[in-house]
Structure formats: C-alpha cells, structure tokens
Symmetry: C2
Subunit: 472 residues, 2 copies
Amino acid sequence: MAQASAAGDARGDRAAVGRALEELAAAFGNRLVTSAAAREQHGNTLTWIPNQPPDAVVYPRSTEEVQRIVRICAARGVPIIPFGVGTSLEGHVNAPQGGVAIDFRDMNRVLRVHAEDLDCVVEPGITRKALNEQLRDTGLFFPIDPGADATLGGMAATRCSGTNAVRYGTMKDNVLALKVVLASGEVIDTARRARKSAAGYDLTRLMVGSEGTLGIITELTLRLSGIPEAIAGGICPFPTIAACCNATIQTIQSGIPVARIELLDALQVRAVNMYSKLGLPETPMLLLEFHGTEASVAEQSQRFGEIAAEFGGGPFSWATRPEERTKLWEARHHAALSNMALRPGSQMVATDVCVPISRLADCVVATQADIERTGVTAPIVGHVGDGNFHLTLLVDMNDPEDVRRCKALNERLVERALAMDGTCTGEHGVGQGKMKYLLAEHGPAALAVMAAIKRALDPQNILNPGKIVALS
Amino acid sequence: MAQASAAGDARGDRAAVGRALEELAAAFGNRLVTSAAAREQHGNTLTWIPNQPPDAVVYPRSTEEVQRIVRICAARGVPIIPFGVGTSLEGHVNAPQGGVAIDFRDMNRVLRVHAEDLDCVVEPGITRKALNEQLRDTGLFFPIDPGADATLGGMAATRCSGTNAVRYGTMKDNVLALKVVLASGEVIDTARRARKSAAGYDLTRLMVGSEGTLGIITELTLRLSGIPEAIAGGICPFPTIAACCNATIQTIQSGIPVARIELLDALQVRAVNMYSKLGLPETPMLLLEFHGTEASVAEQSQRFGEIAAEFGGGPFSWATRPEERTKLWEARHHAALSNMALRPGSQMVATDVCVPISRLADCVVATQADIERTGVTAPIVGHVGDGNFHLTLLVDMNDPEDVRRCKALNERLVERALAMDGTCTGEHGVGQGKMKYLLAEHGPAALAVMAAIKRALDPQNILNPGKIVALS
C-alpha cells in the first residue's frame, strides 16, 4: 500500500493544490468558489474547535461530476471534504490540511419513490424536512430527526439519530443502500434494494458513520415508514431523574412501542418555560409520543400512565389536539435555542454520551453534581430510551477560563460514560473533537483495525483526512 | 501488505500443517481431534457442494484458547475455520485448503443477562433454542429464528434472519457488540454496550455476515426483546400468489406491526398437509402472527382480515388457543421436512433469493413457471414481508442430470432476482456456493473493496479462506 502522501503536511502541497484548483476551475467554471467568505463558511464548526477553511468549494450536480473532482484531487494528493449544510458538531467539515470541500447544495433531489417497497432514492444534499415535505402525499415519512435540518448525506455519514430512534432506529437502520465514490474515483453501490441481504461484507453499514473518510456518498436508498394513523403524546413530571429513567426502562421492557421518550432536567424545563411560555412544573420530566391506531395509542398512553404512577411520576398530561402536540415538540426542538436565555451572549456546545439505559440515571445525576461543582450552566436533554443524553454547555468563548472549565467537564463526562460501558458519542460522530477518546473507547487493536480499513480504502489519505482515525 | 501465503495452495503446506497440529496437540491434548469421522462431520455441507474436511478439529473453552489456536496457525500459515453446529447451507464450514476447524461446542454459556438493558452476553456455541430456554424466566427473548437450531456465533457470522425478521430485523439489528479474535491473534471488542454509538467505523456490522473471514467471534452481546403479553396468529388462503403479496404490501404500508407473515405456495401447503395432517385448502396461503397486548393483537388481526378480503383472500382463521398456534408454526417449521414426502429418497437443497417486495409476486410466479418447465419438484416458502423466499429443491443426488437441472434452475432464479434489484442471498450467506454471483450483484469495484478489506484484516488469508471473496 502507498504511504500517506504530501496531504499529510499541515496544509498539503501548495503547488499541487494550485494545479488541482486550475483543473477544477476549467471543469466547473463558476461552480468552483475560492472566496474567503465561502471558504470560511465551509470550515465553520459551531463549537470551540477552531475553523479550518478549505482552499476551495465546488458544487457538483451528479455522481459523475463527483468522480471527476475526486480524480483531479487524487492525482495531486489533495484532500476532499464532503459538505451538506454544515450542522455537524465535532469539526467534521474542517479542512485541517486544506483541500477542496464538495458542497452538495445542487444535488438535492428525490430521484425515485417506491411506495410499495417503503423506500426512496435521494441525492445527498436534500435535508430531512425537504424530504418529508416531498413524501407527504405518499403517506410515508423518513423518521430520523436530528435537531438540525441536516442533509441526508451528512446524516448517513455521521450515523445520526434523534428523538424517534427508540422506535425507528438510527441511520444505520434506515439506509438500505448507498452510491459511493471511492478515493480512486470509482463508484460503487453498497447493496441492492432488497430489504435484507447476506451477500458479503456489509459495505452499507461500513460507510454509514464513516464521515466521508472512506468514500463520498452521492445517492442514498432510504427505508421509509408509514405515517401513523394516530399520534398521541404528552408530558409527565417526575420527582427525580432516577424516577424518569426507571419509568422509561419499565416502559420499554413492557414492550410499549413508544415512538419518542425524551428526558428534560429541571433546568431545561425552566429554559423551555422561559422561551416557549409553557408554564410546565420545573422538575425532571418526560415528553412522550405514541404512534399507532387510535385504539393502540390510547392503550399505550394509559399503560405508560400506570407505569409513571408506580415510580411517583404524573400526572401524565395528554396533548390530544395536534396543535397542543406541535407546541410541545416545537418546545422540545427549541430546547437548545431556549437555553440561550439562560446565559445571554454565550455560545452553545453540545455534549453527546450514551450509556446502557440501566446506568443512565447514575450518569445523569453524577453529571449534574459535576455541573454544580464546576459552576457552569448546562441544561440536560436526553433520548432516554436509548441511554443518550446531551448537556448544552453555555460557554463564554471570550473567557479562556470558562472554555477550559467546560472542556474539562466534557472530558470527565466522556470518562464517566466510558466507565459505564458507554460511548463517547451516541449520535454526533467523531469528527475532530472525539478522536482523542477512541483509544479509550475501542482499545488499540480495534482502532488499528479502523486504521487498516482506512488505509485499504484510501491509501493516499485524501478523503476527509484528520477525522476519526489519524494515519501516521 | 504480505501476499497470500502457502495456504493458497490446494491443501496448503502439509509440513506446516503437521507442525501446527503438533503444537495444538501439545496445548489442547484430546481436545484436538483428527479422526476421519470428526473431520468429515466438520466439512459436511448439507447440499450439493462436495464435503472438504479440515485436517483437525479443536475445541477451545475460552477467548484466550482461541487466541492461542490462531497464533499457532498464523505462525504456520494454516487455515482456520470456525464451526458452530454445521447447519449452514452454502459450504461455509468446508476446508478447501485444509486447516483447523474451531468447534465452539464447549463455549456455549450465557455469561451475563442485563434485563434492565434488554441485552445479554453469550458465547458463540450456544444455540438459539438453548438461549431462549435460559432467558425464559427473565420475560425476555431473542427473536431471530432461522429454520435450524443454529448457534448464535454462526447466526451472526452469516447475518441470518428467519420468520420474525419483518418485525424484529436480522442479526445485524440484534447484535450490539462482538468480541473477535483477529488473524493476528489479537482480540477486539467491536463496540460498547450502549444501544447506539457514532464512534467510528461500525466494526460490529462489518463482522456480522463476514462468515469467519475477517475474525473469529468469541462473545456476542445481543439485543433482547420483551416476550409479548399476547400473541395471536392464523392462516389466510388467497386465490393467487400475487394476492398474497399485495395483501402483505398493504399490511406493511398500513403500519400493522405484523411479527410474522409467511407465504406458502399450493405445493408447499400440500406437503404440509401430508406431513402434519392439517387439512388446509391447497392454495397459496399466508401464515401470520401478531405480537402485542390482547387489545392490540385483536385489532391487528381484524385489520389484516379486512385487507385480506380486499385482495380476495380469506377467510382469515384465527388460531386463538396456544396449542393451535403451536401446531401451525410447527407445521411451518417442518415445511422443509414435510417436503421429503413429495419425493422420497431425494435430498433437499434450499435456495434463498430476496427482492424488493413490489417484485415478489412477479419473481415467485416466474419461478413457479420455470419449475414447471424444468420438471422438478420445488415447493416455495417465503418470508414475504421481507421479499425473501426459498425453493426447496428435491434433488436425486445419484442422478447427475437431475443435479444439473436443479443447479441450472437455481442459477436462473438468482439471475431473475438480480434483474429485479434483488440479492442472491437474503439470509443464508455466501459461503462457497454463492461466490460466483457476487460480481454480478455488487460489480467489480465493490467486490474489490471487499477484497481490500479482507487483505487488510487477514493478509495471510488464513481465516476461512475460499469463502465470500477469493484472493489471488
């Protein structure tokens, strides 16, 4: 195998980059952009990771054009960074070695809907809301809902999930197949459209979560779900975080097919109250949603209410009317935004650990104590059915001491989760920010396997280099 | 990367094998077996693929012992073939280059059950029935049910599924993490016990379905499900295969969370009648099962009955009493066995294509016509909710013309499925038997990616060589 090329240098081989940009300009005309504004927007990290802009941004319109970009860059050893809408949270779209960002803005179509098969084929630049808008008349929807209106390409690349994962799974469960441009410029389809297959290595799942480091996704075949006949939901206050968690465990063990079960700690409820004027009791709380028939959601809600009461929770307030339900989930989706009111002028940084659900209460309670001791402001929301929770750290980026304190808190949080057989990232991905935890999480031999796969598929290390695994 | 070693020769380097066996005998005593009977049992294929016995069989008791075996074999370039109970159907346990079979008979324990997390940790040699027997008191079960009472290690290695997959998914969806011994003898854990993670490449899904060619599974963390409060089921005759398929599509689109929906063609119903004395109408038929609460399974059954009627099916006969239901599903599980009565003295060979569900009726009907034209006996059962169906070819293995005819029929079946965007194997895996179809299914570039991964993880080509991808 070839060694990592000149792309391993801090900003790569400048002359090689220059020649690649000339070739790209000749091929793409004004769809190759090198303005400072465009470059900076494409290296934006939304977090405390410093921005590292690419040398240029190119806007392809087809798989063939992506192949052309990759071939031009590969011939010069120039890095390539795929870009959706830039909502990733761990520096995934940074260009630490320079190179060319591929922006999928112009590849945002739904190519085919196979309603009978409950699947569709889309380009990577479509966002989840735009997709569901276009699917509406089919009676089908795509259930994965990260907080941001991310692109499907980015969602697959980071193996994201969201509030529906407890019922519908994550991106790994909802991608049937991918079209991927390899580091060589060759294109592969990772699978057929059959709902299952045992025909060799699972290249689909290998690409999902590989963050553009093994190949560039140019088409996705997605599994769709039927829009439920009835949706019911509501909120249920609890005396403690532990009671929230125990009620959740019991709910899942009982086989209640809850669609969403979200934890808000008391501080998060206060922020939501301030922002969305909901007047909720400021105590730990579960927000729930049930999908099914009218009879089934009624039964699910009733059974959940009984379980909640067992753990001292309640009363469970149904949001029966759609507008009430919408208001509630908008409040949940605005949780992050509402937190700004808790510390005006601060920037939000989201953490993302996930632990076995039996350890969730311990992990959240210990983390709350740590937040208290550290003296920072950090409300908590959790996809409690999966054991995944987020602190929203409200950081004064102009105060180095505050940044240091918050970073240290996050490090302790990750260590705490790993000690509980958890993971450093439930759904945000590794990017640059979580690389340093992978050794502790996976151990040297498993990390070496990841590096071996990276070397086998991208021997020049040109695909989103400096993310997930560092090659020497 | 090192080149494939002497293991690439037909039966490997005999002197190297001899030295490895000496070392293994010194380490394992009478747990290393070289008798002809044991060797032949471990190269048994249950199909028309010729048996290719290993040179020896060894019975480890721990991950450390597996590491020891791998290190001894790796030092000599001797092939290693993992073995569960030998129910695979495509020559997975054959030893075309000789070598050592690792039989997991003595590694069959449930190590831990985490009831609150709905997971458990098991050794690879436990069978699915033994596992569920041991889980019974917890109120949990492991839902994947291939026809045979296979081992969990083999089930993960082949990415198998079964009748419950439409509701509970396949092995890829129900394995949380694996402990794997690599070709180097090093051991990795592919993931933590958290229910989801975005922390790097999905090594769990890479190993699931890799058939022992990338590593040897020595522990599995499995996702469990709650035993449903109520189970209802029944049978529903239809005028045509197409009507069965269309009713299934409508059922799934409507969001009815059917747990099992199995197709039997008229010939299969006749065989089941002969064997299990059920007196069913000899027409295409769906067997169904619903899981949930009493109210929910009643509602699901009623709604299915309405859908069936729309497509000319029915009446839908409920099997309300457990003993009726058991009789029905025993008949389904004995479908293969019952087929022997259709052609006494023949051997059964199972085919295994899977297509998008919208193409299933076309694929089954065209295949029935092909069976008729070819003049062979081949009843059909299908996991129709997934688009996966099996012919049971009843072959006279002493008649070369009959074998040739049946093989040609299977080839045409695979081509038909591939032409419909399907796969050559829905759940049986590749082994030796399906290798020749992978190029047509995946194309040269994707197959080259699989080979590159194989080379990266097993540069000597000692892990179950000659399966899935051939290395030159």
